[in-house]
Amino acid sequence: MLLEYAAIASFILVTALIGFIAIGLGTIFGPKHSTDKKAMPYESGMNPIGPGTRRMPVRFYLIAVLFILFDIETVFLLPWALVFRQLGLFGLVEMFLFIAILLVGYFYAWKKGALEWE
């Protein structure tokens, strides 16, 4: 039984390895020469005005949450698309039900004006 999971484990292992190699080589061998100017926040060449961390309006958070919500929806679609053939009609109806529920949520957010900035 353990063998079936070997494929997924090796898949995760390889992707993690590629990630670490790409970034790891850069941090180990890359020249590190940090000066105070380099650490300053980049504001198109000028000095930033006022404190670094400023009060962010809540709108940004709302948009971030909406994005995560609908992004997870597409994450669920991916594995479904792989086994789409074997699931047959049941899989199709099930997924459309899932999408329909989320569409209701989308229209609710739209009508409540969450997508408008104002």
């Binding site: 890359g30 020249p31 060449g45």
Partner: protein
């Protein structure tokens, strides 16, 4: 690089690694989107379809200094712009090079007056000077290839900067 500070000049043993490093640096050197004046328009023509600087690894003009390796100073640097230019150069990550594109960036060019820095080498250390006012796109690409030869010729000992 970090490792060669310890190893110093190892001659034959490290040639292939130097070439590998130099190869990786020259085939994806992203310039910073830093157009000042007339040379910027010629730089845009060099980036556009007809002259296509992307053939030499300059696919993207990164707007922020954090993701760029090369600063092409394209245009005349005024006294008010010089500190900003220096700040942007400081904020670029370490293996960085500078091309002074055009006469105004190389030596003040036509404008020898109170407002223009007489050559950008008073602000940032320059690697390649491209002559012309404005230099043709081919001249800029020739300048880029000269920079590549310079980078490929670098030994580990010199890469300490």
């Amino acid at each position: 690089m970090g490792i060669e500070q310890k190893m110093g000049n190892m001659g034959i043993a490290t040639t292939t690694l130097e070439q590998a490093v130099a190869w990786s640096r020259t085939n994806a050197m992203w310039p910073m989107l830093f157009g000042l004046a007339c040379c910027a328009i010629e730089m845009m023509s060099a980036q556009a379809a007809h002259y296509d600087m992307s053939r030499f690894g300059m696919e993207l003009m990164r707007p922020s200094p954090r993701q760029s390796d090369l600063m092409i100073v394209a245009g005349r640097v005024s006294r008010k712009m010089a500190p900003v230019l220096r700040r942007l150069y400081d904020q670029m990550p370490e293996p960085k090079w500078v091309i002074a594109m055009g006469d105004c960036a190389s030596c003040g060019g036509v404008f020898n007056n109170y407002a223009i820095m007489q050559g950008v080498d008073e602000v940032v250390p320059v690697d390649v000077y491209v002559a012309g006012c404005p230099p043709r796109p081919e001249a800029l690409i020739h300048g880029v290839l000269t920079l590549y030869e310079k980078v490929q010729g670098m030994k580990f000992a010199e890469m300490k900067k």
